[in-house]
Symmetry: C2
Subunit: 121 residues, 2 copies
Amino acid sequence: MTGTTPSSADEIAALFRGAIRSGRLGDGERLPTVRQTAKDFDVAQATAAKAYKALEHEGLVVTRTAAGTRVAPGASRAPQVVIERARALAEAGEGAGVPLDDVVAILRAVWMADDAEPESH
Amino acid sequence: MTGTTPSSADEIAALFRGAIRSGRLGDGERLPTVRQTAKDFDVAQATAAKAYKALEHEGLVVTRTAAGTRVAPGASRAPQVVIERARALAEAGEGAGVPLDDVVAILRAVWMADDAEPESH
DNA sequence: AAGTTTGTGCTACCTTGCCAGTACAAGTAG
DNA sequence: CTACTTGTACTGGCAAGGTAGCACAAACTT
Protein backbone atom coordinates (compact mmCIF):
# COMPACT_ATOMS: atom_id res chain seq x y z
CA MET A 1 0.00 0.00 0.00
CA THR A 2 3.01 2.26 -0.09
CA GLY A 3 2.46 2.87 -3.73
CA THR A 4 -0.57 5.05 -3.25
CA THR A 5 -1.17 7.16 -0.18
CA PRO A 6 1.19 7.42 2.78
CA SER A 7 -0.39 6.27 6.00
CA SER A 8 2.36 6.55 8.57
CA ALA A 9 4.88 9.07 9.78
CA ASP A 10 7.76 7.28 8.10
CA GLU A 11 6.03 7.11 4.77
CA ILE A 12 5.10 10.78 4.86
CA ALA A 13 8.66 11.70 5.73
CA ALA A 14 9.93 9.53 2.91
CA LEU A 15 7.62 11.23 0.47
CA PHE A 16 8.90 14.71 1.29
CA ARG A 17 12.45 13.44 1.41
CA GLY A 18 12.05 12.23 -2.12
CA ALA A 19 10.50 15.49 -3.26
CA ILE A 20 13.37 17.46 -1.76
CA ARG A 21 16.28 15.29 -2.81
CA SER A 22 14.89 14.98 -6.31
CA GLY A 23 14.69 18.74 -6.60
CA ARG A 24 10.96 18.83 -6.96
CA LEU A 25 10.92 20.97 -3.83
CA GLY A 26 13.63 23.61 -4.14
CA ASP A 27 15.77 25.49 -1.66
CA GLY A 28 13.74 27.57 0.75
CA GLU A 29 10.47 26.39 -0.67
CA ARG A 30 7.74 26.00 1.85
CA LEU A 31 6.08 22.74 2.83
CA PRO A 32 2.41 22.54 3.72
CA THR A 33 1.58 23.20 7.35
CA VAL A 34 1.47 20.30 9.71
CA ARG A 35 -2.27 20.63 9.96
CA GLN A 36 -2.65 20.71 6.20
CA THR A 37 -0.49 17.67 5.68
CA ALA A 38 -2.48 15.85 8.33
CA LYS A 39 -5.66 16.57 6.40
CA ASP A 40 -4.15 15.78 3.01
CA PHE A 41 -3.07 12.32 4.09
CA ASP A 42 -5.89 11.82 6.54
CA VAL A 43 -3.68 11.22 9.55
CA ALA A 44 -3.47 12.70 13.02
CA GLN A 45 -1.57 15.96 13.45
CA ALA A 46 0.86 14.24 15.75
CA THR A 47 1.76 11.90 12.91
CA ALA A 48 2.41 14.67 10.42
CA ALA A 49 4.41 16.54 13.06
CA LYS A 50 6.50 13.48 13.68
CA ALA A 51 7.32 13.24 10.01
CA TYR A 52 8.41 16.87 9.88
CA LYS A 53 10.48 16.36 12.99
CA ALA A 54 12.36 13.53 11.35
CA LEU A 55 13.07 15.62 8.29
CA GLU A 56 14.42 18.43 10.40
CA HIS A 57 16.56 16.00 12.33
CA GLU A 58 18.06 14.95 9.00
CA GLY A 59 18.76 18.55 8.18
CA LEU A 60 16.52 18.55 5.14
CA VAL A 61 14.14 21.22 6.41
CA VAL A 62 14.26 24.19 8.72
CA THR A 63 11.33 24.96 10.94
CA ARG A 64 10.72 28.24 12.67
CA THR A 65 7.71 27.98 14.83
CA ALA A 66 5.21 30.28 13.26
CA ALA A 67 6.84 30.76 9.89
CA GLY A 68 6.23 27.25 8.73
CA THR A 69 8.60 24.57 7.53
CA ARG A 70 10.92 25.23 4.61
CA VAL A 71 13.49 23.27 2.67
CA ALA A 72 16.87 23.84 4.26
CA PRO A 73 19.25 26.06 2.28
CA GLY A 74 21.95 24.17 0.40
CA ALA A 75 22.83 20.49 0.48
CA SER A 76 19.40 19.23 -0.44
CA ARG A 77 19.50 17.97 -4.00
CA ALA A 78 21.07 14.61 -4.73
CA PRO A 79 23.68 14.41 -7.51
CA GLN A 80 22.16 14.89 -10.94
CA VAL A 81 23.32 11.47 -12.13
CA VAL A 82 21.26 9.78 -9.49
CA ILE A 83 18.17 11.77 -10.36
CA GLU A 84 18.57 11.10 -14.06
CA ARG A 85 19.02 7.39 -13.59
CA ALA A 86 16.11 7.27 -11.21
CA ARG A 87 14.03 8.92 -13.91
CA ALA A 88 15.28 6.39 -16.43
CA LEU A 89 14.39 3.51 -14.17
CA ALA A 90 10.96 4.92 -13.46
CA GLU A 91 10.33 5.29 -17.15
CA ALA A 92 11.40 1.73 -17.88
CA GLY A 93 9.39 0.36 -15.01
CA GLU A 94 6.20 2.17 -15.86
CA GLY A 95 6.62 1.33 -19.51
CA ALA A 96 7.02 -2.34 -18.72
CA GLY A 97 4.10 -2.33 -16.33
CA VAL A 98 6.19 -3.38 -13.35
CA PRO A 99 4.64 -2.22 -10.08
CA LEU A 100 6.52 0.49 -8.22
CA ASP A 101 6.99 -1.67 -5.17
CA ASP A 102 8.50 -4.42 -7.30
CA VAL A 103 10.93 -2.01 -8.87
CA VAL A 104 11.94 -0.86 -5.43
CA ALA A 105 12.46 -4.45 -4.36
CA ILE A 106 14.63 -5.09 -7.40
CA LEU A 107 16.65 -1.97 -6.72
CA ARG A 108 17.28 -3.09 -3.17
CA ALA A 109 18.33 -6.53 -4.38
CA VAL A 110 20.89 -5.29 -6.89
CA TRP A 111 22.13 -2.70 -4.42
CA MET A 112 22.99 -5.36 -1.88
CA ALA A 113 24.33 -7.68 -4.55
CA ASP A 114 26.88 -5.06 -5.57
CA ASP A 115 27.79 -4.70 -1.94
CA ALA A 116 28.57 -8.38 -1.63
CA GLU A 117 30.15 -9.08 -5.03
CA PRO A 118 32.56 -6.37 -6.18
CA GLU A 119 32.85 -8.23 -9.50
CA SER A 120 30.10 -6.95 -11.75
CA HIS A 121 30.13 -8.39 -15.30
CA MET B 1 15.83 0.83 9.18
CA THR B 2 14.82 -0.98 6.06
CA GLY B 3 18.28 -0.54 4.70
CA THR B 4 19.84 -3.16 6.90
CA THR B 5 17.97 -6.16 8.23
CA PRO B 6 14.32 -6.94 7.56
CA SER B 7 12.26 -7.06 10.72
CA SER B 8 8.73 -7.68 9.53
CA ALA B 9 6.86 -10.07 7.26
CA ASP B 10 6.42 -7.45 4.55
CA GLU B 11 10.08 -6.55 4.50
CA ILE B 12 11.16 -10.16 4.30
CA ALA B 13 8.73 -10.79 1.47
CA ALA B 14 10.01 -7.70 -0.33
CA LEU B 15 13.56 -8.93 -0.01
CA PHE B 16 12.84 -12.26 -1.65
CA ARG B 17 10.62 -10.58 -4.21
CA GLY B 18 13.55 -8.45 -5.21
CA ALA B 19 15.90 -11.42 -5.37
CA ILE B 20 13.49 -13.30 -7.60
CA ARG B 21 12.42 -10.53 -9.92
CA SER B 22 16.00 -9.41 -10.34
CA GLY B 23 17.02 -12.90 -11.35
CA ARG B 24 19.34 -13.40 -8.43
CA LEU B 25 17.16 -16.36 -7.51
CA GLY B 26 16.46 -18.35 -10.65
CA ASP B 27 13.62 -20.57 -11.78
CA GLY B 28 13.09 -23.53 -9.52
CA GLU B 29 15.78 -22.47 -7.14
CA ARG B 30 15.07 -23.23 -3.54
CA LEU B 31 14.53 -20.68 -0.81
CA PRO B 32 15.70 -21.28 2.77
CA THR B 33 13.26 -23.13 4.97
CA VAL B 34 10.80 -21.10 6.98
CA ARG B 35 12.64 -22.05 10.15
CA GLN B 36 15.97 -21.05 8.68
CA THR B 37 14.70 -17.70 7.47
CA ALA B 38 13.21 -17.08 10.88
CA LYS B 39 16.62 -17.62 12.43
CA ASP B 40 18.48 -15.64 9.79
CA PHE B 41 16.40 -12.56 10.35
CA ASP B 42 15.75 -13.21 14.00
CA VAL B 43 11.98 -13.24 13.76
CA ALA B 44 9.28 -15.69 14.81
CA GLN B 45 8.53 -18.61 12.51
CA ALA B 46 5.00 -17.34 12.02
CA THR B 47 6.42 -14.12 10.60
CA ALA B 48 8.67 -15.87 8.12
CA ALA B 49 5.79 -18.15 7.16
CA LYS B 50 3.59 -15.15 6.53
CA ALA B 51 6.17 -13.71 4.19
CA TYR B 52 6.36 -16.94 2.20
CA LYS B 53 2.60 -17.10 2.08
CA ALA B 54 2.46 -13.66 0.52
CA LEU B 55 5.02 -14.64 -2.09
CA GLU B 56 3.06 -17.72 -3.00
CA HIS B 57 -0.11 -15.71 -3.23
CA GLU B 58 1.68 -13.49 -5.75
CA GLY B 59 2.63 -16.55 -7.71
CA LEU B 60 6.33 -15.95 -7.27
CA VAL B 61 7.03 -19.18 -5.42
CA VAL B 62 5.62 -22.67 -5.26
CA THR B 63 5.47 -24.51 -1.98
CA ARG B 64 4.97 -28.21 -1.57
CA THR B 65 4.73 -29.08 2.01
CA ALA B 66 7.82 -31.10 2.73
CA ALA B 67 9.82 -30.25 -0.34
CA GLY B 68 10.41 -26.68 0.65
CA THR B 69 9.67 -23.48 -1.19
CA ARG B 70 10.99 -22.88 -4.69
CA VAL B 71 10.85 -20.09 -7.22
CA ALA B 72 7.85 -20.62 -9.45
CA PRO B 73 8.64 -21.78 -12.98
CA GLY B 74 8.41 -19.04 -15.60
CA ALA B 75 7.15 -15.50 -15.22
CA SER B 76 9.53 -14.54 -12.48
CA ARG B 77 12.14 -12.20 -13.91
CA ALA B 78 11.30 -8.60 -14.62
CA PRO B 79 12.16 -7.18 -18.07
CA GLN B 80 15.90 -6.89 -18.60
CA VAL B 81 15.71 -3.13 -19.17
CA VAL B 82 14.34 -2.61 -15.72
CA ILE B 83 17.04 -4.73 -14.13
CA GLU B 84 19.79 -2.98 -16.06
CA ARG B 85 18.56 0.46 -15.16
CA ALA B 86 18.12 -0.56 -11.57
CA ARG B 87 21.72 -1.68 -11.60
CA ALA B 88 22.77 1.62 -13.15
CA LEU B 89 20.91 3.57 -10.51
CA ALA B 90 22.37 1.49 -7.71
CA GLU B 91 25.83 2.05 -9.06
CA ALA B 92 25.32 5.81 -9.31
CA GLY B 93 23.78 5.99 -5.87
CA GLU B 94 26.46 3.99 -4.13
CA GLY B 95 29.14 5.87 -5.98
CA ALA B 96 27.72 9.19 -4.92
CA GLY B 97 27.28 8.05 -1.34
CA VAL B 98 23.53 8.54 -1.37
CA PRO B 99 21.81 6.28 1.18
CA LEU B 100 19.67 3.48 -0.26
CA ASP B 101 16.55 4.75 1.42
CA ASP B 102 17.09 8.19 -0.08
CA VAL B 103 17.48 6.73 -3.54
CA VAL B 104 14.26 4.84 -3.05
CA ALA B 105 12.53 8.03 -1.95
CA ILE B 106 13.82 9.82 -5.04
CA LEU B 107 12.65 7.01 -7.27
CA ARG B 108 9.18 7.18 -5.79
CA ALA B 109 9.10 10.94 -6.25
CA VAL B 110 10.01 10.88 -9.93
CA TRP B 111 7.70 7.94 -10.50
CA MET B 112 4.71 9.89 -9.26
CA ALA B 113 5.86 13.03 -11.00
CA ASP B 114 5.76 11.21 -14.33
CA ASP B 115 2.32 10.02 -13.44
CA ALA B 116 1.12 13.58 -12.98
CA GLU B 117 2.94 15.26 -15.88
CA PRO B 118 2.74 13.23 -19.12
CA GLU B 119 5.15 15.70 -20.75
CA SER B 120 8.60 14.22 -20.38
CA HIS B 121 11.33 16.21 -22.03
C1' DA C 1 6.66 -48.75 6.49
C1' DA C 2 9.16 -45.60 9.76
C1' DG C 3 11.20 -41.46 10.72
C1' DT C 4 12.41 -36.96 9.53
C1' DT C 5 11.83 -32.62 7.25
C1' DT C 6 8.97 -28.68 6.28
C1' DG C 7 4.95 -25.69 5.77
C1' DT C 8 0.72 -24.58 8.34
C1' DG C 9 -2.35 -23.38 12.18
C1' DC C 10 -3.36 -22.31 16.38
C1' DT C 11 -3.39 -19.56 21.28
C1' DA C 12 -2.48 -15.84 24.35
C1' DC C 13 0.56 -12.06 25.35
C1' DC C 14 2.95 -7.80 24.43
C1' DT C 15 5.07 -4.07 22.13
C1' DT C 16 4.78 -0.35 18.68
C1' DG C 17 2.58 3.26 16.56
C1' DC C 18 -1.44 5.96 15.23
C1' DC C 19 -5.69 8.47 16.83
C1' DA C 20 -8.26 12.15 19.01
C1' DG C 21 -8.58 16.32 21.19
C1' DT C 22 -6.72 19.77 23.61
C1' DA C 23 -3.46 22.99 25.62
C1' DC C 24 0.72 25.51 25.05
C1' DA C 25 4.86 28.19 23.07
C1' DA C 26 6.85 30.98 19.90
C1' DG C 27 6.86 33.54 16.27
C1' DT C 28 4.49 36.69 12.41
C1' DA C 29 1.39 40.29 10.80
C1' DG C 30 -1.87 44.16 11.52
C1' DC D 1 0.45 45.53 21.55
C1' DT D 2 -2.95 42.27 19.94
C1' DA D 3 -4.55 38.60 17.27
C1' DC D 4 -3.53 34.95 14.43
C1' DT D 5 -0.67 31.31 12.64
C1' DT D 6 2.02 27.27 13.23
C1' DG D 7 4.94 23.77 15.44
C1' DT D 8 5.08 21.16 19.81
C1' DA D 9 3.54 18.38 23.79
C1' DC D 10 0.57 15.52 26.26
C1' DT D 11 -2.99 12.09 27.79
C1' DG D 12 -5.51 7.74 27.34
C1' DG D 13 -7.37 4.54 24.14
C1' DC D 14 -6.98 1.33 20.50
C1' DA D 15 -5.74 -1.64 16.48
C1' DA D 16 -2.14 -4.08 13.94
C1' DG D 17 1.30 -7.06 13.92
C1' DG D 18 5.17 -9.72 16.05
C1' DT D 19 6.49 -13.37 19.78
C1' DA D 20 6.78 -17.90 21.65
C1' DG D 21 5.68 -22.48 21.72
C1' DC D 22 3.55 -26.24 20.41
C1' DA D 23 0.54 -29.50 17.61
C1' DC D 24 -0.52 -31.15 13.08
C1' DA D 25 -0.38 -32.65 8.02
C1' DA D 26 1.96 -33.90 4.17
C1' DA D 27 5.69 -35.49 1.55
C1' DC D 28 10.53 -36.68 1.08
C1' DT D 29 14.27 -40.17 2.58
C1' DT D 30 15.94 -44.56 3.96
